[in-house]
Amino acid sequence: MKPAPFDYVRPSSVAEACRILDEAGGGATVIAGGQTLMPLLNLRMSQPFILVDINGIAALKGVARVEGGIRVGPATRQADALRDETLARHLPAFTRALGHVGHHQTRNRGTIGGSIALGEPAAEMPATAVALGASIEIASVRGTRQVPADAFYVGPYMTVLEPDELVTGIVYPDWPQGHLVLFREVAQRPGDFALVGLVGALALEGGAISRAGIAWFGMGPTPVRARQAEAALLGAERARIDPHAIARAAVADTAPFDDHHASAEYRRTVGQRVFARALSETLDLRSAA
């Protein structure tokens, strides 16, 4: 046995889970899919006194249409969300990005909420939530709150979640029918974390961009919203868009770092190229690099 000893509880309601988290006073850790937490336990980088397994809480599972959007339960398995037709039809960017999260075997157990709550800077799901304008539903014994995804992430693996709080839903707003998906990921092998990635959605009205939501992953301490690129795209006529100029604006918002996989300089250079290429392809522009 590699992990340090802990108690294990499997509550069957959100209220019960919140009560346990409250009573533990910071000594409890939530386990969802365990695809990140179990390695941390095995390495003893995480040593909770109590493990709170949320897989028995039916209210935290499943995908549902709600007023103005789609709500994904945090304990929904990544593999189930990947097969979900509502998500594929209405939020194709979500489905596209999710296919790059880990492997067949890890998606069979890993959850959407686990990936959202972890806040790994190179992960696809946090950036997708930021790009699409999702909001995170949070509960504790103190009450409930909703936090926009781009205010949820504060640093690498750091979110606004308090130790007694549980993510209870991720709500993605509706995007116009027929909107376009922007997606590119550069990784060493399929299933690996991205060195550089971008995800987004673009809506067109009368030949011009009417709505844009784009975020980078692996390009800073948190998912990074490409605000300058979004602003430059809004209202622009499709045919007159210069993908290279927009890509430069997109990279200007990033703050990548050096690690043993790639340098910050590499990430910026590759990021700018793949952004321009993805945008050209998505908008069917001729001048693709």
Binding site: M1, K2, P3, A4, P5, F6, D7, Y8, V9, G34, Q35, M38, P39, L41, N42, L43, L51, D53, N55, A79, G102, H103, H104, Q105, T106, N108, R109, R189, P190, G191
Partner: protein, 161 residues
């Protein structure tokens, strides 16, 4: 440190046991129940050697706790062949194509292949080959026997080599 009574089936056999909460499913299968066909190596979810089916889905037994498998139906590599020794088609394909060398990664590879071929039953051979190939990203073969594994995949998909 809590202990739990769990009840589960492994390859159709019923088992009841007490486990310490921190015991992984992989350890429990090997050390408590003796299903040593399941191999543990990295215990980080990276290598895939420990892959078993839990309620039909291929997943890492090093990243699941035994207590979380309470009530589940688990399939390990020992459960793939028929009782009379007839190999499962994925085992036969691996054997026919030298898809294993030392065999350390093979139990996990075979489990994933069995789950994916079942999920793609009736699919055309292109989709079958693609599904199997994609799922192999979750396995590392330290003998680097990937060509043999790919040949086995093509045989299973009915694609001529």
């Amino acid at each position: 440190m809590s202990e739990h009574r769990i009840e589960l089936t492994v390859n159709g056999n019923r088992h009841i046991a007490r486990v310490e909460a921190r015991t992984s499913l992989g350890e429990f299968l090997r050390d408590t129940l003796g299903y040593t066909g399941t191999h543990l190596a990295c215990e980080h979810g990276v290598c895939g050697a420990c892959t078993v089916m839990v309620d039909g889905d291929a997943m890492r037994s090093c990243l699941t706790l035994a207590v979380q498998a309470d009530g589940a139906a688990v399939t390990t590599v020992e459960g793939l062949a028929q009782a009379d020794g007839t190999l499962h088609p994925v085992q036969q394909a691996l054997r026919d194509n030298f898809g294993l060398q030392c065999g350390f990664c093979t139990p996990g590879v075979a489990i994933t292949m069995a789950a994916v071929t079942r999920d793609n039953e009736g699919a055309d051979s292109g989709a079958m080959e693609e599904g199997l190939t994609q799922a192999m990203s979750g396995h590392i073969c330290r003998c680097t026997g990937y060509q043999g594994i790919r040949r086995a995949i093509r045989q299973l998909a009915g694609v001529s080599a």
